[in-house]
Subunit: 119 residues, 3 copies
């Protein structure tokens, strides 16, 4: 039974653990299967930034698939400066936000559900 | 001083760390002491599933106690499939939900507070 | 561009990992740069208690700075009992709350955004 509601969910990824990355991608897939109209955004900052860095992530293909299904991915510009990551180092599917933490707060203020990724 | 309000809190457990399990059980106990009318639900998925698996959990007794005080425990059916866990493998106190992540989102949409378990 | 809104954000710290402490302090700094009028509260319990213990934390100076910018820090009295930490063991910048978990729930009920610290 498919849930047609447009759930809005912001995932915060701050982990560099590739198993966390894999689990999160799987969870988003399950969410979109159950409720395909949902709006999902993934905010990556701190130790989670490599998830969106082309030569570091192991999830490039899954990210491309999810992006095609409407999921948005954002890297935090503060974290990029801290880690000396340039826009051109990110996957083409990744946008950026000035501050990852502010983005997660703004989404919650707009009524999005919050999921902290990680074990 | 006892808080009589019926707080509604959903805990998301995705960790397999038995110290996290122990800490979460203790936290729920503290919550129910401070506010005994609270409604608490624990959603276990991903690496957190073993918390509800009879021959894997170390918290069976505490889970029974908390269930008797009204706490609900749910295993994610997606995670059960991934890990080849059957309903009969779960503690008798455990229910199931089709998707752990969707359950956590639905609860937040209904105004429940969200606590991500783990360190 | 400065965001003048008074965002309200409760951070829950339950990790003893000093890298998590460092990352959280940095994130709060970034949040206050982007939105200086924000109200931020940090609730420390479980394994996160040492963050506020004078002879254990590595963030005393940063905590003092953030407190001067209006950030509130609270230790959980349940965790203090569990770990035999007295009020006099805490940083002077730290207040206490009867239950860390209840504090995080109460803040969410009042519309504060929730950030679970940690990787």
């Amino acid at each position: 039974m498919v849930d047609k509601k447009k759930h809005k969910v912001v995932f915060q990824l701050t982990s560099g653990d590739t198993l966390v990355h894999k689990a999160m991608v799987r969870q988003i897939g399950h969410l979109l299967e159950a409720a395909p109209n949902s709006k999902v955004e993934v905010v990556c900052h701190s130790a989670g930034l490599p998830f969106l860095v082309t030569n570091q992530t192991k999830q490039a293909e899954k990210i491309k698939e999810l992006k095609n299904r409407g999921v948005e991915f954002y890297a935090c510009e503060n974290s990029m400066r801290d880690k000396n990551v340039k826009k051109s180092d990110l996957l083409p599917e990744s946008g950026t936000v000035p501050s990852g933490i502010v983005e997660v707060v703004l989404k919650q203020e707009k009524g999005w559900s919050y999921i902290k990724a990680g074990f």
